[in-house]
């Protein structure tokens, strides 16, 4: 099925996995609205970048209102935006806790809510981002893993709440991929993490987009409330 004319919103689209997904789906023919706090240098005819904080309720509402006005439709929301902060729990300030929860949990929720409002009559797809840090109970990532555990719960419950609207809600749980998010983690920590995977290597951008592709396929209309972890983590 051609993606021409189909519209998606990707959060955290300026760099890393989000940037890869934006380019991947632009190349596949989608019209893509990207969002991040800073401006993007991605310039393509079918790409529109909006600067917004995903945890800002009114800014998120304005983004989806823009999509509704300009495109008149929405087919998919990719909740990629996320932040992490590796630290021992005894050294983690409350400001960090609030920032991580605001971006990862509140941001994901707001995009799900506003996206579903646009898609509620036509159906659509929501893909959230979990992490292997949650099932691995990764030390030093307590707040990040907890925030993503909340994303898993959101995914599973919203799948039920939005199922009647023909909206599927799923999540992909990437292993570490070489991005800004993982760059600051010491090599020995990362090697130890990779050793706990069934397949001991870094994830690639294409590993992530492959799972997102699956969730977006028309044939996946009966797949909802699922979390697919990469690298053999479960």
């Amino acid at each position: 099925m051609s993606a021409a004319g189909r519209v998606m919103v990707i959060s955290g689209a300026r760099k890393g996995i989000g940037r890869h997904l934006a380019e991947h789906y632009l190349n596949a023919g989608w019209q893509v609205y990207g969002c991040s706090r800073s401006a993007s240098d991605l310039q393509q005819a079918n790409y529109r970048h909006v600067c917004a904080d995903v945890a800002d309720d009114s800014a998120v509402g304005a983004l989806f209102s823009l999509v509704r006005k300009e495109s008149g439709r929405l087919d998919a929301v990719i909740n990629n935006a996320g932040i992490a902060s590796m630290n021992h729990c005894l050294l983690t300030p409350s400001t960090t806790v609030r920032q991580v929860l605001a971006t990862n949990v509140e941001g994901t929720f707001l995009f799900c809510r506003e996206g579903a409002k646009v898609m509620r009559r036509t159906g659509g797809r929501i893909v959230n981002f979990a992490t292997v840090a949650t099932p691995l109970r990764l030390e030093g990532e307590a707040i990040y893993a907890a925030s993503k555990a909340a994303v898993v719960s959101l995914t599973q419950i919203l799948a039920h709440e939005l199922g009647a609207n023909g909206i599927t809600v799923n999540a992909v749980g990437p292993t570490p991929v070489q991005t800004d998010l993982t760059r600051s983690v010491p090599k020995e920590k990362m090697d130890a993490l990779l050793a706990r995977q069934a397949i001991n290597r870094w994830g690639e951008f294409s590993d992530v987009s492959n799972v997102v592709d699956f969730f977006l396929k028309p044939e996946s209309a009966f797949v909802t409330g699922q979390v697919i972890y990469l690298g053999g983590i479960s």
Binding site: G61, S65, K117, R120, A164
Partner: protein, 102 residues
């Protein structure tokens, strides 16, 4: 803000929405139509869909975004979702507030 116009917007939205299957409410819809609770035309799921339709209609007609099911709505002694008249009162108040901000 003209409350009569808001009431008409609610009635128009109700007419577009249609009656959920199995309801016995007599047409036409009016200010006295019971929306939710004993004798109401909506269950909780269809009420959610109707509220979203009203929010869309308000945005299209008045150019402002309102959130009908907020904490204030839930804490009111008389639910704004009981009758069309109650919802008209509450929606008129929210639209007036939003227009004053913009």
């Amino acid at each position: 803000m003209d409350r009569t116009a808001v009431t008409q917007l609610l009635v128009d939205t109700l007419n577009d929405f249609g009656l959920p299957p199995g309801t016995k409410e007599e047409l036409p819809f009016s200010e006295t139509t019971i929306l939710f609770g004993p004798g109401g035309i909506f269950d909780s799921v269809s009420l959610v869909a109707f509220i979203l339709d009203v929010e869309d209609a308000v945005r299209d007609r008045y150019g402002v975004s309102i959130t009908l099911a907020d904490d204030r709505a839930m804490s009111q002694t008389r639910s704004p979702f009981r009758r069309v008249s109650n919802l008209a009162d509450y929606a008129t108040q929210l639209i007036t507030e939003q227009q004053a901000k913009s």
